[in-house]
Structure formats: structure tokens, C-alpha cells
Subunit: 475 residues, 2 copies
């Protein structure tokens, strides 16, 4: 536990300095290729030790704001790529060197076993059709006796792609063919492949603030410059989006416009159409992550942006297995061949194909009547848990917008509540949640938390939120 606490404390310090420096750069205090004050001077300015100032600079460097010249210092990045070399860190260990900023904070928190699990945006395994699935598995092995001995192709099983293309054609676009699809091991692998295929370090990209923390970690490891697009209950500020596209020419915009993680917000139809136009105009690939489409509570969400794409500027990620068989890890990536062809090659390098076993099992369940029934029941179960969570949260005085789908509540806590202290004490009392800062690529959202109502059962949701509210009162 101690290393997590220490890490959060320290992170708070250097993230604050990073943010301050980023604002000064954005505000024009220094221009491209101007030298920044030395780490020693920055430490003095912000009244921290040099290691903390150094870490703030490293963060800025990783995000592409600045670059380092050996034995000289840090300089503000221009639009052209800058040299990759970094000033030697004061605490560089001898021996094996890890490249890039390899960190996955969500993974650190979710790795801690707790009784009240509100940090994992996963469906409670008790809500999944486990027994039915086992039957399907046995049937699949009777159907394909050599399944276990057969490699998949890199692009994915033809039968599965055919079935998914048919389903997607019915739902959103009538022109989809199986060759327009790539099967990946979960949506996260799809994001990772896209990042590696279309991005170079220091490229600019757009990313929602807040967003899916694993995506932040993936893009940060790639060393790109992330530019924030705020998401609100009514969608984006399209003037902001267009200005960012015009000025920074971002390579892509990673978005989750339907029952957005972590906020639950949904971007309205008019914005969807306009975004596709902007993408074409500014040649910015829209990466539309659509993991929660079927998890709606009142009415189905608007069609995906992908439905309006005619020129191939949307890549669509549909994690189909999330709410039926998460253990199988099946995601479909759909797009124009200019995007899919290089992604298939990247997939062939990354793992040469998602295991065929998983694809065949999923295929047979996907085509079943039980699948449809299961999804309907699941919606009801999740809605009940959401309602219970909201009911109990009334005692806290925190603020939120009721999500109409998805797995999470995004809460604005009271101003004076120290979210890190709340997490520390919650973990001690066997309860976990996601601090907003982890979902914010720019170290903001410090007064927010994400609670998932999908993993814990009804009574655990009720007791857990009561416990959380009680902890909040004591700190």
C-alpha cells in the first residue's frame, strides 16, 4: 500500500508543476526552441526539490511539449520532430533500460483486491450467461474438432467477420464487408495497434478530457502530443475541435462518444455528422471506441459516427465480448481498407492473430437467440444498480449527470475533499474507485471520481456507497 500512497503524493506535486509549465508554454511565455529555465531554477520557482522539477519536465517531454538537448537542458518543441535524446535522469539505474514512459496507473489500483469493487468497469460475472456459454463451447468443439490445433489468420476468422459485417450492415451501414473488419484481442489491443500504425512520437492527437485511462497510457507510451477536447453532457465544443484541427493538424482524434467512459455522456447526432466532415477536411482520423452501445437504459443511442463516414476517416472499434463473454476478448475494428490493411499487418506482427478458439466460441453465441435475451436482461440489472448507487450518493452532496447507458458514474466531489486521501482510506477499508486524475491526460479532474456500478452486486453497491460516504465525512 505504501508505494501507491507515496506515488500518488509525489504525482500530485509534479503533475501540478507540469500543468503550470504547460500553461505557460501554451500562453506563449516561451516560443518554439526557446530554452526553459534549468531544473534547478524551476525547483526554486516552485519550491520543490530538483527530482520533482525534473519529473515535471520529463512529463512535459513525454507529452511532446518540450525536448531535451544533452548537457544543455530543455527546449520548447516546434512543429517539426525534435531529437529524441533526453538529459540523463539524476536517478537513472544502471543496467536494463526501459524505453518511453511505461506506466499504467489504472492497472496499479485495480490490482488491489477489495470487497467493494467500484474501480473496474466490468460486468459482474454473475450477470453473464456462464452456463449457457459452457454449453456453446462444448458444441463448438464438436463442430470443429481440430479447432485447438489451428492458427487463426491475422485478420481474424472469416466466418466471424462475415457474421459481424452482416450485423453491422443491418445496424449502421449497408456496405460493410468482412474484408473491412479486423478482429483484435479486446478494444485495448485495437487502440494500441492504431497508435503504433498511424502515430510517430511527437505527433499531435486529440483526446477527450476525461477519457479511458488505458488509452492515455498507450498514447503516452507512444510519445505523442495530446491535445484535450472537453466532453460535456451535451457533447463537444465543435469550435474548439475545429480550431485544434486547423492549428495543430492532429493525426487522429480518439473518442468514445456513446455512453462515454468515464462520464456516461453521449454526443448528439448533429455533432456526429459535423465531426465526420471536419475529419475529412482536416485529414484527421476519428478513432471511435464504441464499447457500450448496447448498454442503454432508456432508448438506443444515436448511430455511430462511422455510419456517416464515406471517405474513410473513421475507424470504428466495437468490443463485442465485453458484456457477454469478457474472458474471450473479442473486438471488431471496422474501417476503410486504407486503415484496415496496415492494421492487419500490424496485428500480424503483434501476435499473428487472435486465437481461433475464442473467435469460434464467440461466433456461435453471437448468432444465438440467447444473446439478444441476455443483453436485454443485463440492461435491466445494470439500471437497477445505477439507481441504487444514485440513491445512496444523495447523502454525499456530490454532483453528477445521470448516465443513460454504460457502466459508470462520474462524480464531482466537494471542493475541499482530497480525493487521494479518500482513495487511500477507501482502499484501507476494502473499497476501490478511480480517481478522476487518472482519466485526465492533463492531470486535471482532481475533484472527480469514477464509480462503476457494474461489477458489485446490488447489496454491495448499497453498502459500499454508504461506506464511501462515511469515509468522505471523516477526512
Amino acid at each position: 500500500m505504501e508505494s501507491l500512497e507515496d506515488g500518488l503524493e509525489e504525482r500530485r506535486r509534479y503533475v501540478r508543476i507540469r500543468d503550470a509549465l504547460a500553461q505557460r508554454i501554451a500562453g506563449g511565455e516561451w516560443r518554439a526552441h526557446d530554452k526553459l529555465p534549468s531544473v534547478r531554477q524551476l525547483a526554486a520557482q516552485y519550491e520543490v526539490n530538483r527530482l520533482t522539477a525534473y519529473k515535471a519536465c520529463r512529463l512535459l517531454q513525454t507529452d511532446g511539449w518540450i525536448y531535451a538537448k544533452e548537457k544543455s537542458g530543455y527546449y520548447v518543441s516546434g512543429d517539426e520532430p525534435a531529437p529524441e535524446s533526453a538529459a540523463a535522469p539524476p536517478d537513472a539505474p544502471e543496467g536494463l533500460r526501459v524505453s518511453g514512459r511505461l506506466r499504467n496507473e489504472m492497472f496499479d489500483i485495480q490490482g488491489i483486491p477489495v470487497a467493494y469493487q467500484f474501480s473496474q468497469a466490468l460486468i459482474d460475472p454473475n450477470l453473464l450467461p456462464n452456463l449457457y456459454m459452457s454449453e456453446y463451447v462444448k458444441r463448438v468443439f464438436d463442430l470443429y474438432p481440430k479447432l485447438i490445433g489451428t492458427y487463426a489468420t491475422a485478420q481474424g476468422d472469416e466466418e466471424l467477420r462475415e457474421a459481424l459485417a452482416g450485423r453491422m450492415s443491418a445496424d449502421m451501414r449497408d456496405d460493410l464487408r468482412r474484408d473491412d473488419l479486423l478482429i483484435t484481442t479486446g478494444a485495448q489491443q485495437a487502440i494500441d495497434l492504431i497508435s503504433r500504425t498511424f502515430l510517430r512520437s511527437r505527433d499531435a492527437i486529440l483526446i477527450e478530457r476525461p477519457t479511458y485511462s488505458a488509452a492515455i497510457a498507450i498514447f503516452r507510451h507512444q510519445g505523442v502530443r495530446m491535445l484535450p477536447v472537453d466532453i460535456r453532457p451535451d457533447g463537444y465544443d465543435l469550435a474548439q475541435v475545429e480550431a485544434l484541427m486547423r492549428v495543430h493538424r492532429p493525426r487522429l482524434f480518439y473518442m468514445n462518444p456513446t455512453f462515454h467512459n468515464p462520464t456516461g455522456y453521449t454526443v448528439p447526432t448533429a455533432q456526429r455528422k459535423r465531426l465526420v466532415e471536419l475529419a475529412e477536411r482536416y485529414r484527421c482520423l476519428l478513432v471511435e471506441d464504441d464499447a457500450f452501445r448496447e448498454m442503454y437504459f432508456e432508448e438506443p443511442p444515436p448511430p455511430p459516427l462511422f455510419a456517416y463516414d464515406t471517405e474513410g476517416w473513421v475507424v470504428y472499434l466495437r468490443s463485442y465480448s465485453k458484456y457477454v463473454a469478457p474472458g474471450l476478448r473479442i473486438c471488431a475494428v471496422a474501417g476503410h481498407r486504407t486503415a484496415i490493411a496496415p492494421l492487419v499487418t500490424a496485428k500480424s506482427l503483434a501476435d499473428n492473430g487472435t486465437p481461433l478458439v475464442n473467435q469460434k466460441i464467440f461466433l456461435h453465441y453471437l448468432l444465438s437467440e440467447r444473446m439478444r435475451q441476455h443483453v436485454e436482461k443485463l440492461r435491466t440489472a445494470l439500471q437497477i444498480r445505477r439507481d441504487i448507487m444514485e440513491e445512496e450518493l444523495c447523502a454525499t452532496g456530490w454532483q453528477w449527470t445521470t448516465p443513460r447507458g454504460g457502466l459508470n458514474l462520474w462524480l464531482r466531489t466537494n471542493e475541499d475533499l482530497e480525493v487521494e486521501a479518500l482513495l487511500r482510506e477507501s482502499l484501507r477499508q476494502s473499497l476501490s474507485f478511480v480517481p478522476g486524475a487518472i482519466c485526465d491526460p492533463f492531470g486535471g479532474s482532481a475533484s472527480h471520481i469514477r464509480l462503476s456500478y457494474a461489477f458489485a452486486n446490488e447489496s454491495l453497491v448499497r453498502e459500499g456507497v454508504r461506506r464511501l460516504a462515511a469515509i468522505a465525512r471523516t477526512i
Copy 2:
């Protein structure tokens, strides 16, 4: 078919120029940061068109020999990182840009369906225990009814890691614990994770010549500078290895020292011990890919290098599923925590864990008596196929060293045989093999081919080699 032929033709031209230029650089004709002749001048020197000369330069750049300055030209790389920017290619397409050198040539050839399949180094599915496996699968689903609804951890299932650590401890090192292991989706993913975790573009690495083509593609995509270590029937030239380590300080040495792919050679014990000492001394991580250890024909191979590693400079990749259940894609990565910990984080970013279903199915088969029996039978079956292939190859006059394990024969063809023409005609006659150049990171091995005897059955091996020999006589 046409695009493959054209690609091979063109590749031959620019690879030849790349090799010639690399030799001139290595020979000292130009020094670090000297400007190369312009693409126009090179095209004139080598009597090719400018696009071909340009592609040769791009290859040199990708391999780290040279770097580009915008609107100026190409310069010879120094030891320090060089700017990443490249001269705009003359044929750059408008629109979506793919980063790095994304190419997987083996994938292009193996994607073509043929009757005589000698290009895939895979076990014939008919030799695998498919029906038994299906029974295990059903049992596993009875044992873990919620399996399909459960995510794996990023590091891999504890029960499986425990079992593998026990087995590895018995086989090679008595100090292995489950925390020293990471489960990946096949060895290829392990290589990819290692490349992304420990390498930056333009780092130097050592790689065998010839080697596993997917590894070449992975390292090339990462943009590292590959330095060749020749592998011969009696192992490496250790004086060459030490000189390369001393001069270039490579970050890692990717090796496959046991029943090496593609040659089948095995590095002797004395060299194994000495290599571990060199790795420690020069702080060069040895990445030991050990996919074929159990596929021996006469006697078991010497212990892996990993058995002699005390300081944590060997990462050991053991693709356990290859010859029992390739459809499951299970590889174990073993190493010191300084290597395993960042690899687990990289895995958490790449796909957040190999599907649990696959790990549990494999675990239960691994622990069975049938597994041991299966491996013994498989050895016999493969040895018979190897013998048939060798028998039929006598008619060709080609040369090879009889492999004592593994799945492949590495053949030196007659000098005047154009291997690309042989492949072209073979594919037309429904037979595929791997041209040696694809296994050579330096465009050499042009008079070699790799034939796998593991995928086609006995009669197909016999007929196929006869057909290949007949084709060779006609061209």
C-alpha cells in the same frame, strides 16, 4: 500473384543497392555525419531509376545506417540518436500516413493457399491431440463455470504460472517462482513486447543471420540498428559477438540457439555459458527464444542459456503451445524481475492479458500424462517426415546440415538457381517455401531456402519435394 512477383523483383534491386551502400559505410568510405551522394547520383551510379535508389536509402535509414535532413539529403548515422525526420518520399500518398516500416513479408507468402505447404513452420493439425483436447476443454468448463466471464490478469493466470514455474524449475533452474513468469499470446507477442519495452529507435541490437522473419519485421518496425551474428552448425563466432558488444554496446541479442529457425543448428554448451558472461559484462540482454526444445530427434538439447544466468541478463521465451495446441497461443516469458515487471506493464497496455480461457485449457492439458505421450509420438512423426524430405532432396544436389530437432531444413541451392524465380513457379504449381532472403535481416542468404517438414503429411512431403526438384530443373 502479380503484386508478390513485382514486389520480389523490385526488392531484389533495392536490397542489392542497400547492401552495397551498407558495405561502403561499414568500410569507412563515409564517416558519421558525412553526406551521402544524392538519390539522383546514386541512381546514376547503380544504373537504376531514382525510386529504386530512394527505396535503398529508406531501407538504410530504417536500419539506422543513415538519417535524413529535410531538403538536404541523407547523412551517415553516428552513435548518438539522429533526428527522426525523413525526406518526403517521391510517392508519398495523400491522406492516412503509416508510421515506420510496416511490412511482414512472411505473412504475404504464407497467406497464399497451396497444396504443398512447406513455408509454414507449423505442426500438421493431424498430428495434434485434437479430440483429447476437446475433452479437456469440456472438463475445464465444468471446473470453472464462470471462466468465460472472467478477465485474466495482465501477468497471466496464477495457477498456470505456478505449474510452469514448477516445470521449468525441474528442467533448468530450481529458483524459478510464478512471479518470474509472464504469459503472452504466443512467442511473437513476447518479442514484440520486449522490443517495445527495452528498445528505442536507432538502438543497436544483435540478431542472428539468418533468423526468424517475424522478429526481423518487429525489430525493423521499431527502427533499431540490427547487427548480424552469423550462426553456423557449430554455433556463433564468439570473438565476433564480443567485438560487436564492445564496439556497438547493443541493447539486446535476439537468439534462437536451440534447433534454430531457420537452420536447425544448436549452439553448444560451452558457448552458452560464455555468452551469459559476455551479456553481463557488456550489459546486453540475451533474448533466448526456445520454441523447439522438446522437438529433438536423437537426444535432448543442452540446457538453455537461461539456466546459467544469475544476474538477470537473459529473458527466456518458451512457446509451450506450439506443438500441442497452437490454436491456444500460450507462451511463457521467464526472467529477472527487472525485466518481467516492465514487460507486465507493457502487456497490460498491449491487451491487458492473454484470455483466461486459453490459459486454463492449456494448464489442464500441460499437467496431463497424455501431454508427455503426445510429445514423444510427435518427435517420431516429425523425424520420419524429415527423413523423407532429405531422401527426396538428394536429387537436387543442394546442400544442408541434417537438423537434429525443430521443424525446418535450411538448404543451400545451386549458385545459378534464381530463388525468386523458383518461388514464383512453385507458387504457380501450388507449392510454397520461404526464400532465404526473408530470414536474413541484411538481404543476404539469397541462395538459400527454408523448407518445413512439419505441416505437410508424409506423402505430400514426398510428392512436394519431387515437384520442387522438377521445377528447379526447368528454370
